[in-house]
Homo-oligomer: 209 residues x 2
Amino acid sequence: MAYRRSARMQARLDDNRQRIREAARRIIARGGFRHAQMAAIADAAGLSTGSLYRYFPSKAELFIDVLGAAADQEIRLLEAIAVSQAPAPQRLAQAVRRYVGRALDGPHLAHAFMVEPVEPDLDAARQQHRKRVGKVFQRILEDGIHDGAFPPQDAAIAAACLVGAMTEALSGPTAAAPETSEARAQLVERIAGFCQRAVSENRALDPAA
Amino acid sequence: MAYRRSARMQARLDDNRQRIREAARRIIARGGFRHAQMAAIADAAGLSTGSLYRYFPSKAELFIDVLGAAADQEIRLLEAIAVSQAPAPQRLAQAVRRYVGRALDGPHLAHAFMVEPVEPDLDAARQQHRKRVGKVFQRILEDGIHDGAFPPQDAAIAAACLVGAMTEALSGPTAAAPETSEARAQLVERIAGFCQRAVSENRALDPAA
DNA sequence: GCTTTTGCTGAATCTTACTTCACATCTTGC
DNA sequence: GCAAGATGTGAAGTAAGATTCAGCAAAAGC
C-alpha cells in the first residue's frame, strides 16, 4: 500500500465539492436550472464534467444538494421565528415578511427554487421543501388557534394557502419585481396583510363564531 | 386538376383533428404531460405519429391548443360569475368555489394544467392562463373595492395571492384528494373562507381603516 | 526515484423523444 | 379506370445533454 488519503488531499476534495456546489448555485441564480448544465457547472467550478461525477452521483443529486442547503437555511430562519415568544399573529407576520423578503432578495434563485419547470426528481425535492415551509406556518397557526389569537380553522389547509399566496404573489405571472425599496416594502406589507387577514377572525363574515 | 377537397374529406380531417385533441387530453388527464408522448397520442387517436404533424406543427402547439381550449372554457365560466349582478363578495365566493370545484373534479388534469413541470413553451402558455384567471378575480375585487364591499387594497396583488392560495391548496404537497363528497365540500368551503377573509375588512387588524 | 493507488480529463457513448421524409395509399374528377 | 394530388405511414434522422470510461497525471509511502 503506497497511497493513503492525506489531510491535505481531503481538504482539496472538500474544497472541490464545495466549489461545485457554489458554481451550481451561481449558475442557477443567474439563469435558472435550465441553463445549469453539467458542462457549464464543471467549467465554472474549474473541473471537467467527468470529475463532477466523482463528487455527485448525478445531476439530480447535485441539484437536490444545492436546493436542500438553501431550504435548510430558510427553514432554520423560519423555525427561529416560529418558536419565539411573540404572539402567534406577530410571528406569522414576521415569517411572511422573511419568506417574502428572502425571495425578493434573490428573485432568480427564488423562481428556480419555487416554480421553474424542472425534471420530476428535482420537483419532488422542491415539493418536499414547500411542505416543510408549510409545516412551519402550520405550527404558528396551531399555536395561535390554541391560545385564541386565531379563530378555529384547518391549519394545514390555511398553511398551504399561505404558502401558495406568497409564492404566486412573488413568482406568478402578475408579479413584477419592485424597482425601488419603497415599492419593495409596500409589496411585502401587502402580501403580509393579505396573509394576516386570511387567517384572522372576521366578525363581519362569521357573526356566529 | 383532378383533386379538390370535398366536404366529406374536410369532415374527416376535422374529425381527425378533434380526435387528436381528445386523445391528448385523455392521456394528459391520466398520466400528465409527462406520459403524453406523440407516439402515445397518435396511437390513442388511431393515427400514426407522422400524421399528427399534418394537424399540428409540433407537440408544443398541440398541447397549447388543448390547454387553451380548457382555459377558455374555464375563463368563460368565471367571467359569467364576474359579470353577474350579485354583490362582489358573493361573486368572489362563487368564483372560488367554481375554480376549486373544477380542479377537484379533474385532479390529474388540474395538476397538469397548473403545476406539473413542462417545457418552457408550454409553461409560458400556462402562465398566460393563470394571468387571465387572475384578471377575473382582480375585476371582482376592484368592483367590490369601488362600491365599498371590500376595503381598499391592491387588487392585482390580492388576485395573485388568491390564485396562488387556491392552486397550492389543491395541488400543493399538503393537498390530499378528499375521499367523500362531504370532505370535498368542506375543503371547498375552507378554501373559500380563507379567500373571503383575506380580502375583506378586518377591524381588529386595521382599526384605522 | 519508484510503485501503487487515487484523482482528473473530455471525447465518445447513450438515452429519449420529437420531427422528418420517401414511399404507399386513398380521393377526386373525368 | 386513370391521372393528379392529398393524406397516411413509421422507420430513420436529429438534437440536446447526461453519463461513462480508458488513459493520463498527481500524490503517498518507501
